[in-house]
């Protein structure tokens, strides 16, 4: 474990490089198609200054947004997937992992860290959708479980930021049991009375939405995020009907009583701090 700052980090991905391109480059919003300075977009927490579209960012950006001076200690940095089933579809699972690691600069689909938010110590886990759709295999389950244990041992609040298509099929039964494992550790955290905020971002579906992402003392979401257990295509095929507009949007899930509130990413850090402070 060591202290990390942005300058010392040597892992960069093509997309990150693009986002951190020098001043003068433009960012085009995929939603409203309007253009703005990359720097301006970044200073607005990677949201559109025109329509407030929340760009799908990853752990690197979230940690920078959350942790004071972008200083944090990352946990379990070396953990990587194995191939317990010898799984192969169009590509072997180890090849897929290796290729994704090379492309993204990430080890797997979640990073965990502890650090300070406005001076308050917290543990945060953040999923990376760019890593096989943010799918949950043994590494994601184990790292989340250990992040929970870290919060428990040190009696500090936990934040989990989910962005996941669900289970990682290539780990089949092992993947399924990560739902059980993470829920087991959260049962202990719950019992100890340590606060857990689950932030659901676009998209959070499948096994992740049916385990830790829905087990927060506070379940909150970014605006417009797609949140649900079953995917819209599966539902449409099952019931043979078109789905209502805004079905499975964060706003829809809030309306139906499964979220505490929706948070604009620009307010995330301060709102988290306020919430955790009120519980002290």
């Amino acid at each position: 474990m060591s202290w990390f700052t942005r300058k010392e980090k040597n892992i960069h991905t093509p997309t990150e490089l693009k986002r951190e391109a020098p001043d003068g480059l433009w960012y085009k919003c995929p939603e409203c198609k309007k253009v703005m300075h990359t720097r301006e977009h970044k200073s607005h927490a990677h949201t559109c200054i025109h329509c407030n579209h929340h760009e799908k960012i990853g752990s690197e950006e979230y940690f920078e947004l959350l942790f004071d001076n972008n200083e944090f200690t990352e946990l379990d940095t070396t953990m990587t997937s194995q191939d317990p089933l010898g799984f192969s579809d169009t590509k072997s699972y180890p090849d897929r992992i290796a290729a994704t690691q090379k492309k993204t600069g990430l080890r797997d689909a979640v990073r965990t860290a502890h650090g300070k938010v406005n001076g308050m110590e917290i543990v945060a886990a953040c999923m990376d959708f760019s890593f096989i759709g943010g799918s949950m295999g043994s590494v994601v389950g184990e790292k989340i479980a250990r992040a929970v244990d870290h919060a428990l041992r040190n009696r500090i609040p936990l934040l989990v930021i989910s962005r996941s298509g669900g289970a990682r099929m290539m780990e089949a039964g092992f993947s399924l049991m990560q739902m059980a494992k993470t829920s087991a550790r959260l049962a202990l955290l719950d019992q100890a009375g340590i606060p857990f905020v689950s932030l659901l971002t676009d998209p959070t579906t499948g096994g992740v939405s049916a385990s830790y992402a829905m087990l927060g003392d506070f379940n909150i979401a970014e605006p417009g995020s797609m949140i649900g257990f079953a995917g819209p295509r599966v539902i449409r095929e099952t019931i043979g009907k078109d789905l209502p507009k805004d079905f499975q949007s964060a706003e829809f899930v809030l309306d139906h009583g499964f979220l505490d509130f929706i948070v604009d990413r620009k307010d995330l850090k301060n709102k988290l701090f306020t919430l955790f402070s009120m519980l002290q």
Partner: protein
């Protein structure tokens, strides 16, 4: 209803029945010997077939139309059973059943997904696919069992939690997630038995137990072979391949340490001898409950948590 690999056996059995009828009439010693050797051959073929089932064939058996379902087992292993309905919030989900039963003189809370046998029943039971209120009903009954100090036995048999508009509106994900967390903290013994299909979160939603057992010809995984095929190969045609890749049988799951044991089925599968199957399940439940009841409740909870916490393969 016959599966393709059951057909040769069934054909021989039909012929055997004919021979036996003839034997009744003729009382011929040669014929008697022929019948006996024919019987041996059938048994040999049966053994060979069932010892060498592919994973996909086990999936087929797990869905066999004649296979006993949750209520069949409950009624055959209990001396009395009172079904309990409703989640006290939305409605009674008939894809998830439960109630108090007496087995070997002790009261047990039984819970499980229920499939239907004909078109009308299948609709009524929603093909064994529970809605959120089904999972909440299950949790209500588990908490009731805990309150009165009665053990919980769940029978898992589902192609998945129902993917529907109302299911999403009422929080399918939240309902399953809550069950996972709450089941870990139940102070009473919990036994989970996969009796047919164990598909994904819909199965796991009643699957956190001190003992998780699978009948021999069942499957348990994160996705069905068909859905896996459609996602990974973009076609429904690779279900056999997907079943092999997913390693979803009872033997696979035991080998990986993801379940605690296998419950043997009568030769030919549970559906060929439901009475024997029920007796085996009953004896299994009784002996497991005896073991589990001897453990201190808090130790039992710790062991339950530790067991699931150790599941996962990774390197660091």
């Amino acid at each position: 209803m016959l599966l393709d690999f059951e057909k040769p056996i069934a054909d021989l059995e039909a012929k055997l029945a004919e021979m036996k009828q003839q034997l009744d009439v003729e009382r011929n010693e040669d014929l008697r010997l022929a019948v006996r050797s024919f019987e041996d051959n059938i048994l040999k073929l049966k053994r060979e077939t069932f010892q060498n089932l592919t994973r996909w064939q086990r999936v087929q058996l797990s869905r066999h139309g004649d296979r006993p379902y949750t209520l069949d087992y409950i009624y055959s292993i209990t001396t009395q059973f009172i079904e309990l309905h409703g989640d006290r919030s939305v409605r009674d989900d008939q894809a998830m059943v439960g109630g108090l039963g007496t087995i070997d003189g002790q009261s047990v809370m039984f819970i499980g997904q229920q499939k239907g046998r004909n078109t009308k029943q299948r609709q009524q039971r929603n093909f064994g696919m529970a809605n959120p209120e089904g999972y909440r009903k299950a949790l209500r009954l588990m908490k009731m069992a805990e309150k009165f100090g009665k053990p919980v036995v769940t029978f898992i048999d589902t192609p998945g939690a129902f993917p529907g508009i109302e299911a999403e509106e009422r929080g399918q994900g939240e309902a399953i997630a809550r069950n996972l967390r709450e089941m870990f903290m139940l102070k009473v013994p919990v036994i989970c038995i996969i009796i047919g299909e164990g598909a994904s979160g819909g199965a796991l939603g009643i699957g956190i137990g001190d003992r998780v057992l699978m009948l021999e010809n069942t499957w348990y995984s994160v996705i069905s072979p068909e859905s896996c095929s459609s996602i990974l190969w973009r076609s429904w045609d690779y279900k056999e391949q997907a079943a092999e890749a997913l390693k979803l049988t009872a033997h696979d799951m035991l080998h990986f340490g993801l379940i605690d044991g296998i419950v043997e089925e009568p030769l030919g599968g549970a559906h060929t001898d439901p009475v024997a199957m029920s007796r085996i399940i009953k004896n299994t439940i009784i002996s497991q409950l005896t073991e589990l009841s001897a453990i201190d409740p808090l130790v039992r909870i710790d062991q339950r948590i530790e067991k699931f916490s150790s599941m996962g393969i990774f390197q660091e």
